[in-house]
Subunit: 338 residues, 2 copies
């Protein structure tokens, strides 16, 4: 079979390898598609060389079909379409209080262990979610990032008719916006990149470019002075951290989706004054995966528009280089059988 | 009658004034005791000269007895003991979403309008809470700060047996600790001032001095690795903002009680990583006042120990100067009839 390997130093290789049988408790998947995540790009940039085991097969935003079932696995059948929830939570401890998805010893499959950017993939059966047979496997590769969005929106406790502002219109921001709108919220996307603004508008979203327009005033007008009920901070820069507390109204909830590598200056006075909440949100729980699978299989949201292109796995090196050159695209999928 | 007036420039005066009758919708209170709040000290320091109308009678942590009832007031009787919830929320708008206690046009009685540091005080009847006749009026002057603590603990959603860490053992921190313990939590107070540490220990609290001991390790040991379920940030300095995210465990809630005049560096990565919540909390709602009144009238908590001294209103100038010289005391009450 064919597999890709991150070799360090901005290089992927494609190699023919032996297919190993699934171990006890494992299932073998024929991987259909695997999306490229920001984390994968981070790995490509050498930012996570301490964490991945080079040579490393990475990738976790995938869809596929079960082709072999290991010993001790029940409840799955060859031929079933599946997606993997890439969280290995077998190290969970009582001190994790039952929040297995963020347990202290969590291993992320596709980073801490081999991922999906290969033709066949053996994974623990407990990571599988079956998807309806009629599901488009291209769209199903969006389940993982969509589950992130479902988790973010769920933790925000967003209610119908509330005003949600999404700071940052990248892939996760756009998915958060789609889920928030589907839940009945009024959604505004704040984004500075012209291509992303255009896409957001094509998807029917109200947009504000904070480089050209005062975002606080824009939100004030749209909410008749109430300001935002919910803010999703997806951009991860000081400017969005500065504005997040300004655009949130009384008892507003700010969901921290972005990964801030360094501490940032936060206007804590506003938290006190308006009784704001900041809600950290990371990955997803089982129910978020089920919500995402339902949305993808219903296919009533414009997920297609988020797939920028589909490329053969054999071209993985060019794909990552192109993403570096054109960082304003949305999702690029690798066709792992090509 | 006798009234005190803040005159600016670190000066109070005591003057004999005419007693005016309560207006429509107002009640006249014979003020028994009025505690000195940190905000009052702030006013004394000239930090709020833009906001108060000099000469200003300040004070809002009070207890008293109804002596006269204005036109249009129902449901109150002369002789009833009362406390005032000093929030004038008559400017509430729909954009405040029903959170009248923090509405945009909130006027704080005792800052934005005359306060309780006088013998007789006319206040709108809607600010009154009656208290049981047997209640000690000295203790009742603690209802206002205790209501702050009840609000903080309520918003934290603290559950019995959870571990709560209070960062800062001043008057509010100590009241938060008392309420949290009364709700069944395990409470640790982090404080650097030796006098306050001693008082906390006398009240039976587990204390950590973070200047002498690693607070994170101390909390880690006490929680068997779970870390804090709830953190109350009551100190308002960068050091406590730094440590608040370190001592909070998975899905920990951090209540922002302190007033941070300037933005502070916050470890937002920890919010993401551990799915922490930051909960802003300001003043109180009606139910917090009722909780505080119940606690004070039951008198089963060591509130007496928090009253550092009681001094005549006529000595207000000396009282404020003493607080400046000995900032590690707890509550000083003014006897407003003396």
């Amino acid at each position: 079979m064919r597999a890709s390997f991150y070799q360090g130093n901005h290089q992927f290789s494609i190699e023919e390898t032996e297919v190993s049988s699934p171990g006890h408790g494992e299932v073998q998947i024929e991987v259909a598609y695997c999306g490229v995540c920001g984390t994968d790009v981070h790995i490509f940039h050498g930012m996570m060389d301490q964490r991945v085991s080079i040579p490393a097969t990475i990738g976790h935003e995938m869809s596929g079909t079960i082709v072999q079932i290991g010993a001790g696995v029940e409840g799955f059948q060859v031929g079933e379409k599946v997606v993997v929830r890439p969280l290995d939570d077998r190290g969970e401890q009582p001190s994790d209080k039952g929040f297995s998805h963020i347990c202290k010893d969590l291993k992320f499959i596709g980073i801490d262990s081999p991922g999906a950017m290969q033709q066949r993939w053996n994974v623990p059966a407990f990571t599988l979610h079956t998807i309806p047979p009629e599901t488009d496997l291209k769209l199903a590769a969006l389940v993982e990032p969509l589950a992130v969005a479902c988790h973010d929106v769920r933790l925000s406790e967003l209610m119908p008719d509330e005003l949600a502002v999404v700071l940052g219109g990248g892939p996760i921001g756009m998915l958060v916006a789609l889920v928030a709108r589907q839940r009945g919220a009024q959604v505004v996307i704040s984004e500075v990149n012209p291509k992303r603004i255009l896409l957001a508008q094509e998807l029917g979203f109200d947009t504000v470019n904070p480089a050209e327009e005062d975002l606080v005033e824009a939100i004030n007008i749209r909410s008749q002075g109430r300001l935002a009920d919910v803010v999703f901070e997806v951009a991860g820069v000081q400017a969005t951290v500065d504005v997040m507390t300004d655009i949130a109204g009384i008892r507003g909830r700010i969901v921290m989706v972005a990964i801030h590598g360094q501490p940032k200056a936060v206007n804590l006075f506003q938290f006190f004054w308006k009784e704001l909440k900041l809600i950290g949100a990371r990955v997803y729980e089982r129910e978020d995966y089920e919500s995402a699978i339902q949305l993808i299989s219903q296919n009533t949201l414009p997920f297609d528009a988020l797939i920028t292109r589909v490329r053969p796995l054999t071209e993985i090196q060019e794909v990552f280089e192109e993403i570096d050159q054109q960082p304003d695209g949305m999702k690029v999928l690798l066709d792992c059988q090509q």
